[in-house]
């Protein structure tokens, strides 16, 4: 090799370069085939009026995108996903952090708690949806509520709180958001717990020697050290929650009017329900754009926080 480099350095550089590219070629090919090509294909299809079956397509340029801008149901569905995400970012992540903090201490049955808290994310979304559908059911049998929640409310004589949880526009989306958070907090819990365990214990000991209270340790050591982990959990939460749909389908089927529509159910409906494949592709592009912009903003924000 050394002899060759003395003889013709540029030839060796090209050979090395070629070798390097050869190594990454499989990855590039797979990435191009399964990510880049589908993206351009979807964008291409979004410029057409097409039913998804016919061999002929009608070119309409950006017509589908203009229609999306005026599609109230679509933007309502985006807002619903944002609402579910907001609940997940606050309620779900706060719960996950509180539980991670508890399990980070030397408490009894720590391993058991970790197992239990990690159980909901492992369960299938369909199964979770169906179980919660039964819990929130408003059906009656022989004058007794069938749903577990309404049953307990009856037993507690809280009749005024009983309702048709999934068929009431005031509670349907929130019920779905809470179930989504219940199912999702385990992921955040595991990541946050892993983050907590990377914090040097000596920092805590030193703070305690200096007389710092638990609250002060949390505020001045734990939270600042956990910022990168929080950002990562937040990005994962946003991406996961915005794309929720299996849970929605298993809990409310085709939906309560338009009150439980989320972007993915709208895309599916355009694709299969109304056979507007081109429009569905355009919805996919717009939705992808929203997620990319959201993630980019959060990334910039996290960079700024880290610098501070």
């Amino acid at each position: 090799m050394r002899v060759a480099s003395v003889k013709n350095p540029s030839a060796v550089n090209i050979k090395d370069l070629f070798g390097n590219y050869l190594f990454i070629l499989p990855a590039v090919l797979i990435f191009s085939l399964f990510y880049v090509y589908p993206f351009f294909e979807i964008f291409y299809l979004s410029l057409y009026e097409w039913n998804g079956i016919s061999t002929t397509r009608h070119f309409i340029g950006l017509g589908n995108f203009f229609e999306i801008m005026q599609d109230k149901v679509w933007w309502m569905s985006v807002w619903h996903a944002a609402y579910i995400t907001l609940i997940a970012l606050t309620f779900q992540n706060a719960l996950a952090f509180a539980l991670a903090l508890s399990c980070d201490r030397d408490i009894r049955m720590r391993r058991f708690y970790r197992f239990v808290f990690y159980l909901p994310p492992v369960l299938s979304e369909v199964v979770v949806g169906l179980i919660w559908r039964w819990i929130l059911s408003a059906s009656m049998q022989g004058g007794e509520p069938v749903g577990l929640l309404n049953y307990f409310l009856t037993k507690a004589h809280l009749y005024h709180l009983m309702r048709d949880w999934l068929s009431d526009p005031r509670t349907a989306l929130t019920s779905i958001a809470i179930v989504h958070s219940w199912k999702g907090f385990g992921w955040g819990f595991i990541i946050l717990l892993a983050g907590l365990q990377t914090i040097d214990r000596q920092l805590y000991e030193a703070a305690r020697v200096d007389g710092a209270s638990s609250l002060s340790i949390l505020k001045n050591i734990t939270i600042p050290m956990m910022v990168p982990v929080f950002i990562m959990v937040m990005i994962l939460t946003i991406l996961g929650s915005m794309q929720v749909f299996v849970l929605v389908l298993s809990m409310v089927g085709q939906g309560l009017v338009y009150h439980t529509e989320v972007p993915v159910t709208r895309i599916l409906d355009s694709m299969i329900g109304t056979s507007r494949f081109g429009y569905a592709c355009a919805q996919g592009i717009v939705f992808g754009g929203i997620l990319v912009v959201g993630s980019f903003i959060l990334h910039k924000f996290s960079k700024k926080v880290r610098q501070e």
């Binding site: 039913n51 998804g52 079956i53 016919s54 061999t55 059911s137 408003a138 059906s139 009656m140 049998q141 022989g142 004058g143 069938v146 048709d164 999934l166 068929s167 009431d168 526009p169 349907a172 809990m251 409310v252 089927g253 085709q254 939906g255 309560l256 009017v257 338009y258 599916l268 409906d269 694709m271 299969i272 329900g273 109304t274 056979s275």
Partner: protein, 426 residues
């Protein structure tokens, strides 16, 4: 090692090819009918023993997943030998026009149309395109009906006895009176899978036919009559009336048909609106359930009620499938009397072969009696745009939960209809 490697690779490649060779001798069928998979498999075994031809039924359920798979397979030109197309006739027309479905007219007409005559005419018409059809498809028969179905109302006999109701209601007013009696005893009245748009569409369209007649309904679909017309308001108001009379079980607007079937099978509601497939479902959920079939009560007592029906499950043949005659021979065997009786008894569905009707269970006969008054969107010359239908059904849900009035829903739907017509003209 360098010499061995290509040999090993070649062996693996050839081994990989062998299942493909086997698949060529096999008739592959894709379907979505979970309740029929066992019976299909047994029939496939029988057929293989009889003819040596291997038939493989591949189940993809639920139906929406199946529909997605069919569309994806069509785009990839990878459809199986035999498959079913779910949805309205427009969808079948699209598959035919795109060259995915074989024209079976010649086969049906062979031997003095012996095969054609063995079916219920209405079942066959679902797969038939007449000359000058609205879809501009070449006239012919493009599918083989496997069973027929119709959608009616059912009532729980035990709950009727408990409430002292002797006869099922014939008019809508009688129906509401029955509901009031049932409600006084703490019994919920009516259940249906109105979390699924097509079930709402089915219920509302049979009442539209009863209230204004088929011609006016078709005129609306053509855009000549407005949804704000008083007859349409009357149709939408039926749902408000049912809500006001507490006729509907709680949560009906998010109930999929499976949940509605469960409610009726477990005696949680006295009336149900469901299709003839329910006989099989109720039998599995609660074999002790005592129920009977009735026609939906009429709003206009002078106009006979029409119900959705005729269209059951159908199979079509892939236009590009090799050895078509072998595939058609299998379909002829599958729809023969003996196999149809077997399917009907095993799965409790109405057979498409009229000769098999004499040997079916009693409760199915009650459904079968109404086959003459069935209609279906697949048989109509015009169909409403899916977007308008969706808005109409969602509007009905909004009426049921008290969020919108019939008039507001009618106005919103008409606005969308006009937008869609404008888009179609462009």
């Amino acid at each position: 090692m360098k010499r061995i490697l290509p040999v090993v690779l070649a062996v693996f490649l050839l081994a990989g090819c062998s299942p493909l060779i086997e698949q060529k001798d096999t008739i592959t069928i894709w379907h979505w009918m979970t309740d029929r998979q066992d019976a299909f498999t047994r029939l496939a075994q029988q057929y293989e023993q009889k003819t040596g031809v291997k038939v493989r039924f591949e189940l993809y359920a639920p139906s929406d997943i199946y529909s997605r798979k069919i569309v994806a397979a069509a785009q990839a030109r990878a459809l199986p030998d035999i498959f079913g197309i779910l949805g309205e006739k427009k969808r079948l027309a699209l598959f035919v026009e795109s060259g995915f479905v074989a024209d079976l007219t010649d086969e049906f007409e062979k031997n003095d149309a012996l095969w054609e005559k063995s079916f219920f005419e209405k079942a066959l018409n679902v797969n038939r395109f007449e000359p000058d059809n609205a879809y501009k498809v070449k006239p012919g028969i493009y599918g083989v009906p496997l069973d027929v179905t119709n959608i009616q109302m059912l009532y729980n006999e035990e709950l009727f006895v408990k409430a002292g109701i002797k006869e099922p209601p014939e008019t809508f007013d009688q129906f509401l009176e029955n509901i009031a009696v049932l409600n006084r005893l703490g019994i919920d009245g009516f259940v249906s899978g109105w979390g699924e748009n097509w079930m709402i569409d089915c219920f509302s369209s049979i009442y539209a036919l009863n209230i204004m007649g088929e011609e006016k309904v078709m005129a609306t679909y053509r855009g000549e009559v407005s949804y704000t017309d008083e007859d349409w308001i009357k149709v939408l108001s039926l749902f408000k009336t049912m809500r006001d009379h507490k006729a509907l079980v709680p949560g009906i607007v998010t109930k999929g048909n499976k949940y509605a079937e469960q409610d009726f099978a477990l005696g949680r509601a006295a009336f149900a609106f469901n299709g003839s497939w329910c006989v099989n479902v109720y039998d599995k959920m609660n074999p002790a359930l005592q129920y009977k079939v009735m026609l939906p009560p009429r709003v206009d007592p002078d106009v006979p009620m029409q119900i959705w029906g005729g269209a059951g499950s159908s199979f079509v043949v892939n236009q590009t499938a090799g050895n078509r005659q072998r595939i058609i021979d299998f379909l002829k065997w599958l729809t023969g009397k003996e196999q149809q009786v077997f399917l009907s008894q095993e799965t409790k569905n109405l057979p498409s072969n009229r000769e098999a009707l004499s040997e079916i269970p009693d409760v199915l006969l009650q459904f079968a009696k109404a086959m003459d008054i069935t209609t279906h969107p697949s048989l109509w010359p015009y169909n409403e745009s899916p977007l308008v239908t969706e808005a109409f059904c969602k509007g009905i849900q909004a009426i049921i939960i008290g969020e919108a009035t019939p008039e507001k829903v009618a106005t919103d739907v008409q606005r969308l209809k006009e937008r869609e017509m404008k888009r179609e003209r462009q």
